[in-house]
Symmetry: C2
Subunit: 305 residues, 2 copies
């Protein structure tokens, strides 16, 4: 099994619903802390019109600031939704382009004003362009485990999109549980089916903790061979275009769990915990993460207070 | 595999740390709602000196009120810590006596003023008395997965207590993660080891969600053959005698997950969700449960608001 990767999407999925605008310098500081922790991929922003998601207004500048200073083994990813966004992402040096199609027609229409079929054609074209320019691409299926508007999503609908990606040569595929409807059984089933389509597929998972199942789903994903885990520091998150929003799986909680299992013990939990504390202070509220409140499970007797 | 059972411990473990005294009538109403939901076992209180845990002051009266009216297939359990408590529990008709020993010397001393060895001798004697009087008994190992004071607890220490229970003929055994230190790997390992001691053992699990792992641990326990799951409505809970306290696994979240897996679809989620709403209103704060905030994952398209 390949080494597990952590893809922190807090700067993008974590912040996009927040009404308090996070200043540029604060975002830069948060990204530097993430880099310091040793997570593998950091989603530094999305390229969407600032009228739609004001929090993402400075994505281009963030890439320009961080790219020259970051270590080579940390990848900066950016989410793009359309050709215009792709162009902006190209210009500011995005290393890994994340782009996707919703398996839910309703979600697709609300999010992109395109049907799933129209969105798929556009994404395949954009993914080709990005690859031709030498950038890495991760394609995703949003609402892969259910939709806040439509309810359950048929497995075949998800697999048809995955199949189109594979046929076009894109093997880095994320299944996103946009509404948080996944449960461990469904996670196993869907990722197993994806692997049956092509054993060479590299899968990523993206879970929201809406119904309290994010960590359990992540474990099921790992058992199904998923190697890349999308999560947000402090458990921030929630898509503004879904009906019931819940935060992303919390990065430091997931890292903490993996480390209990002997995995990715090279990632530094301390900076992640401090980041969550800072973020909680910034927004002036308690955030969903657990470990930033408790510290990690003691591996030796705690000293008396 | 036997049918999974839900043992709601909210009235006891859930309330014992709460400073706002819950009136007798409110407790009765909450228990009636739990009965209405169809959970299997309800821990209606503990028999401890009211000076130590004022919230448990009316345990005897609660049993006296509920026992005559409850359906036969719902079991009322009570926690007892000493001979005096056992006597009170006998007098008021407790059906299932829960009693246990901490695998942590420090926790044992703080909680009972006895060493683990002393506590074990006492519990075995009490368990025999209860069985002789025709009552059911569940014996437990507290701090089985780690201790807020001592940190990690050696597996052999836990298994020695389990072995003593088994040798004395007590096969209904709960492993309690008092401090919330369990992780899924450790859960699998410990319950597998218990089953190796005696394949006829009936195991229960009791997880706290301190580090966000309660649901994942419950799933691991189920895979390891555990059939009884202790949980608290609304995710209330936390032991006053441990260092870092986190709520119990949330009953309605666990039932919701099991039902997604096709298990225990006979339990009615609605009363559990309404109960959590009521409890949240009673205490005037948001509680840890997820599903009472969101409702269950829609199994069909939700109607437009």
């Amino acid at each position: 099994m390949s080494r597990l990767q952590i893809h922190d999407v807090g700067l993008r999925d974590g912040l996009q619903m927040e009404k308090t605008q996070v200043p540029f310098d604060t975002k830069i500081h948060w990204i530097r802390t993430l880099i310091d922790s040793g997570v593998d991929i950091i989603q530094a922003g999305s390229f969407v019109h600032p009228k739609l998601v004001p929090q993402m207004v400075d994505s281009d500048r963030i890439f320009q600031e961080i790219l020259p200073e970051k270590p080579r083994d940390v990848v900066l990813s950016g989410l793009v939704l359309n050709e215009k966004g792709l162009e902006r992402g190209m210009d500011c040096g995005v290393e890994l382009f994340c782009m996707g199609v919703s398996a839910s027609e309703t979600h697709s229409l609300k999010n992109t004003r395109m049907t799933t079929e129209q969105a798929l054609a556009q994404i395949l074209s954009m993914a080709r362009t990005a690859e031709e320019e030498g950038r890495s691409v991760q394609v995703s299926v949003q609402s892969a485990f259910g939709c806040g508007y439509e309810g359950p999503i048929e497995k075949q609908k998800v697999l048809a999109i995955v199949d189109a990606y594979l046929n076009a040569g894109f093997r880095n595929i994320s299944l996103a549980d946009t509404a948080g409807h996944a449960d461990p059984g469904r996670v196993t089933e869907l990722f197993d089916s994806v692997r049956e389509l092509d054993p060479r597929v590299e899968t990523a998972c993206h879970f929201h903790n809406t119904y309290g199942l994010g960590i359990a789903n992540s474990l099921a994903a790992r058992e199904a061979g998923v190697t890349c885990f999308e999560a947000s520091f402090a458990g921030l998150g929630g898509c503004p275009f879904t009906a019931v929003a819940g935060g992303n799986v919390c990065t430091e909680d997931l890292v903490h769990l993996f480390q209990r299992m002997g995995l990715r013990t090279d990632i530094r939990l301390d900076p992640l915990v401090h980041l969550a504390e800072e973020v909680s202070e910034f927004f002036g509220r308690e955030l969903p993460g657990s470990v930033y409140k408790t510290g990690p499970i003691p591996s030796s007797p705690p000293s008396e207070p």
